[in-house]
Symmetry: C2
Subunit: 156 residues, 2 copies
């Protein structure tokens, strides 16, 4: 397990994402790490992240899966040496497609764990599959197609 | 066009959802209305709802599509008289599956419009398709499978 979160390697000018930007004080500031072949993110919902009473809001679950998956895509591309220099080590990915299946209501008074694996790396595209676990139960699954942010969208 | 939002008819004890609960002061408090056969939700992102600079965070887009779709499912079931009395008029739906396709980056300095149509109503299940529009462009599409909240999950 590495000690630096994937998101901590993003350059400052792309570190304001509401889900994972370390420089967004209003945001979720999620952190993702390798644990062997899986990338793991743990997040404790706030009481106001509720849906119906006692359960986590589905939009938060989608947000965690989204940002954890794009972070994992970036880290996986880096690990696979898709990028040819350290200058590209922190290349950002955006989400082309997000699919979440909600298997059961997710209890709000638990630390949520999202565990992701790489399904495919092909060119600028990375496909990431994930499970969201609470209290030992898989409550949701996700599949994200992440694409490297095109140069023209990056801040200058 | 009706003047009461779908979400304003939810009973108090299921009105704390982070996305659409009128009683959640931390939440998005989205509002959905019929406009003919389409249900429409308009939302102005906050500056901190950003992804990379200038564009909306994908998790917010997923959240808007999620809550607008479950609200539309509830309103559609009501309109179709699936429920047999006014007591059930505000029955809540939860999300079984959420699929968002991000077609292009969504500009953050625009009012976002989500337009939803019912694809299917069958038993306790409603399938809702939607488009997210900003500055006249469809930036994302969504498909949500919504299911009526089972009695045992409702607050007592």
């Amino acid at each position: 397990m590495t000690t630096e979160a994937f998101q901590d390697s993003y350059p400052d000018d792309v570190s304001h994402c509401y889900g994972c930007g370390r420089l967004n004080p209003h945001g979720l500031q999620i952190k993702s790490y390798w644990e062997g072949e899986e990338a793991v993110c743990r997040y404790r919902p706030q009481p106001y992240h509720t849906a119906i009473p006692g359960y986590v809001y589905g939009g938060l679950i989608a947000s965690l899966i989204d940002c954890h998956s794009t972070g994992t895509a970036s880290a996986a591309a880096r690990r696979a040496e898709v990028f040819d220099s350290e200058a590209h080590a922190s290349t950002r990915f955006l989400t082309a497609s997000l699919h979440v299946t909600y298997l059961k209501p997710t209890p709000i008074d638990e630390t949520l764990e999202v565990r992701a694996v790489i399904k495919e790396i092909k060119g600028r595209k990375v496909v990431v599959a994930s499970r969201l676990i609470a209290a030992g139960q898989v409550c949701a699954t996700g599949e994200v197609v992440a694409v490297q942010v095109p140069e023209h969208l990056m801040p200058r």
